[in-house]
């Protein structure tokens, strides 16, 4: 795992001092709120419905046990004993005091963490694959590039006030687990025939009001020149991105307006200048910088073991398990344990989606401390945060899986629902967020309660369900196989359903099925959608394939038929989306 050198450490320490001064000026009235706002946002500090909210970066999702313990400590000392892991590899605290934020940042700085650029109209925390460095299907470990670009983007002076926020994702595996195409810039790492590391650049993806998947604008950029290429790209966006309309300010609108070819041409023009001028200059990443960073991402001291498959494993542990446990453990192996590059090891996903009891992605300080201990005991003291709002112990010996399962079970972290209907992505919604049109968390809870039969969930197979409390789409509802979006109609909370969204290599944007529903209808609507799938699927066909084969009609008919039977009266009013 990356370790700060004195440059990184100096930077975050000085950043704490800078922010402390800004907070002081705000508190003594010499800095107006309007002017403080973008400054605090660039330090992840929002003002929310009930309190300030602080968003802390977990660059490319990597955490040490020590860092997690600090996050738990902060939750206890400065918040209400829990934190919320988000889809973009950050953690949010919902109840912080403005006066205390500099102290929180100082605590973070002690463990090489910060909240720099986790919000605001600048380059945000860079996200990547939670399984980077261990995934069976990885062809390039993206972390050195992530780290080099983290440094390059940190407090970048030219791009501190972009038209809108700017999000990078970086992938180096066959299966895209980064939602690459939903980012302002997606960087797909490759090796060229000479074995050199290059990048394909996708631009102009994003969710929100106008969901758009990114377009390929440049192939085979050598890794060394990424700073100048990305400078060119951001410069074009900074100069020509729309600033007159908040909803049209993202790069996706610029790329769409110009067309990806024209956008690519303009970037190329700018890059030709920068790159020519700096051919021999110091803009390029050097091998020395690569080496300095990459040495932190070498493999831990794995034992030399032989690989065992899940069936063999289950069989091996059977003797130690009673009948109930056997089923639970086997399911967990199936859903929560992922293949590893190194024989005899596995990666384990700890589910932060207990059925109906906590918000998706929430962890208490007790859980965080326990998870830190688990990572020390079973996974070299490191862990990862996933886009789906779960945590991962990436390097677990297969022989230790049962021990880990038993220990994690104590903390309610072993629900075998990874990738299943109840592994819901949800934003904080109306319970916390001042932008929300509707609540998301009670909807997630109601769905989890309706579908809490694990046999049934397993039988349904992989289905993604994503919920956002408003069109900003923090819950990524557009790319859920089933998406739920909170909408406001005449001051009432309604929910719109989208179907057919998908993240990953076959990314697609879901389609709205029709008029929206009341909150209390949503569990029934889900049941109708799922029943339709079960009736129509052939063999092991996953939900998304059945949907793609049949289209929206049968799902739509079922959803409205059953809902209308129950709720005729309500639907007669306000039945349009």
């Amino acid at each position: 795992m990356y370790k700060y050198d004195h440059i990184d450490q100096t930077l975050v320490d000085q950043r704490v001092a800078q922010f402390r001064d800004q907070v002081e000026r705000r508190l003594n009235g010499t800095l107006a709120e309007e002017e403080f706002r973008p400054l605090r946002l660039q330090n992840g500090l929002y003002h929310q419905r009930h309190a300030y909210m602080l968003r802390v970066a977990i660059p490319y999702g990597l955490l040490s046990a020590k860092q997690l313990r600090t996050l738990a400590f902060i939750a206890d000392k400065y918040d209400r004993g829990y934190g919320h892991f988000t889809t973009r590899q950050n953690i949010q605290y919902n109840w912080v005091e403005l006066e205390q934020t500099p102290d929180i940042l100082a605590e973070l700085a002690k463990v090489e963490m910060h909240a720099i650029q986790t919000s605001g109209n600048c380059i945000r925390n860079i996200t990547s694959d939670a399984f980077a460095g261990v995934a069976g299907d990885e062809y390039i470990d993206p972390r050195p590039i992530c780290e080099l670009l983290r440094q390059w983007s940190t407090l970048h002076p030219e791009f501190a006030h972009l038209p809108r926020k700017f999000k990078f994702a970086i992938n180096g595996a066959k299966e895209d687990r980064t939602v690459l195409l939903c980012h302002d810039v997606g960087i797909e790492l490759k090796k060229n025939p000479e074995g050199e590391l290059t990048a394909d650049i996708y631009a102009g993806g994003g969710m929100g009001r106008t969901p758009i998947l990114g377009s390929l604008i440049k192939q085979d950029v050598p890794w060394q020149v990424l700073p100048s290429y990305l400078t060119a790209l951001l410069r074009v966006y900074n100069r020509f991105g729309r600033r007159d309309n908040l909803y049209k300010a993202r790069i996706k609108i610029l790329v769409k307006a110009l067309g990806p070819e024209e956008f690519a041409r303009q970037v190329e023009g700018e890059w030709a200048q920068l790159h020519n001028a700096s051919k021999n200059s110091k803009d390029n990443f050097t091998q020395a910088e690569w080496d300095r960073v990459a040495k932190h991402f070498t493999k831990p001291s794995y034992k030399s073991l032989t690989a065992v498959d899940n069936e063999q494993l289950a069989a091996r542990f059977t003797a130690d398990l009673d009948a109930n446990e056997k089923i639970a453990f086997t399911r967990w192996l199936e859903r929560n344990v992922k293949p590893h590059q190194v024989p005899g090891y596995a990666s384990v996903i700890l589910s932060l989606k207990p059925h109906g009891t906590a918000a998706p992605g929430d962890a208490t300080s007790a859980q965080m401390n326990a998870i830190a201990d688990l990572s020390d005991q079973f996974s070299f003291g490191e862990l990862r945060v996933t886009h789906e709002q779960n945590l991962v112990l990436a390097d677990v010996e297969q022989a230790e899986l049962l021990n880990l399962w038993r220990a994690a079970k104590q903390q309610n972290l072993v629900l075998p629902n990874i990738g299943l209907l109840t592994d819901i992505i949800a934003c904080p919604g109306g319970d916390f967020c001042s932008l929300a049109n509707a609540k998301s968390l009670p909807i997630a809870k109601a769905i989890q309660e309706r579908f809490d039969d694990l046999d049934y969930l397993h039988d349904l197979g992989g289905i993604t369900l994503n919920i956002s409390g408003c069109i900003n789409s923090c819950g990524h509802h557009h790319v859920g196989n089933i998406g739920v979006l909170g909408v406001d109609k005449d001051g009432e909370e309604w929910y719109q359903i989208t179907l057919g969204g998908e993240q990953g290599n076959d990314a697609s944007i879901g389609k709205v099925i029709g008029p929206s529903f009341y909150a209390n209808e949503i569990p029934d609507v889900m049941t109708s959608l799922i029943n339709t799938y079960i009736e129509q699927r052939t063999g092991d066909e996953p939900f998304i394939d059945t949907y793609r084969r049949l289209g929206v009609t049968p799902f739509k008919e079922a959803a409205y038929k059953n809902a209308l039977n129950k709720n005729d009266a309500k639907h007669s009013k306000g039945a349009t989306a």
Partner: protein, 182 residues
């Protein structure tokens, strides 16, 4: 307008100096550049105004005395007028880049382009809604003079430049710190 500006030459220290340049908005242009507030002979004219008026005799006269510079609006596409800017290099002692509101960062790119694309060696001055919390970024992309918004505290401004002793990307003023140079 401000009596003082912050001057921060690339190889110097930030200091407060007297402001010699008045920023003119280009309005009331029937009679050419209007009389300026007492004592100010030097004026920054809008770049678009320069484009249409720079062949007028009185403009040529004033410019030859070193009394005219231009300022770029945030939405001026300076690359479209590269020839005029190239010619201007010999004429303007100072150019400005305007911040219509502090959180509009286009002029950061304008300054960067002036420095790396046009190799502009003279002063580039930040004007408009310039707040002390923008100084550091401005200094790094290519600005070497700042006319702060009048309500800003001039005394705390210069210390903004000392907040960071390390940077992690190259810019006009500094090279990123790497372990080799650390």
């Amino acid at each position: 307008m401000n009596k003082q500006i912050i001057s921060f030459p690339k190889d110097g220290k930030p200091t407060l100096i007297a402001n010699e340049w008045q920023v003119w908005d280009g309005e009331r242009d029937e009679g050419g550049i209007p009389d300026l507030e007492h004592g100010f002979h030097k004026v920054l004219v809008p770049f678009h105004w320069w484009i249409t008026h720079h062949k007028n005799t009185d403009v040529i006269n004033r410019a030859s005395k070193g009394e005219i510079g231009v300022w770029f609006a945030a939405d001026d596409d300076i690359l479209k007028h590269a020839d005029i800017i190239e010619a201007g290099k010999a004429l303007w002692p100072v150019v400005g880049a305007h911040f219509p509101i502090f959180r509009d960062g286009r002029s950061f790119s304008t300054a960067a382009l002036l420095r790396d694309r046009f190799d502009w060696q003279g002063e580039v001055r930040a004007i408009g809604d310039v707040l002390i919390d923008q100084l550091l970024q401005g200094a790094r992309v290519g600005f070497d003079a700042f006319e702060l918004r009048p309500d800003q505290k001039l005394d705390v401004a210069p210390k903004q430049f000392d907040l960071f002793s390390v940077v992690t990307q190259n810019s006009w003023r500094d090279q990123r710190a790497t372990i080799a140079t650390a």
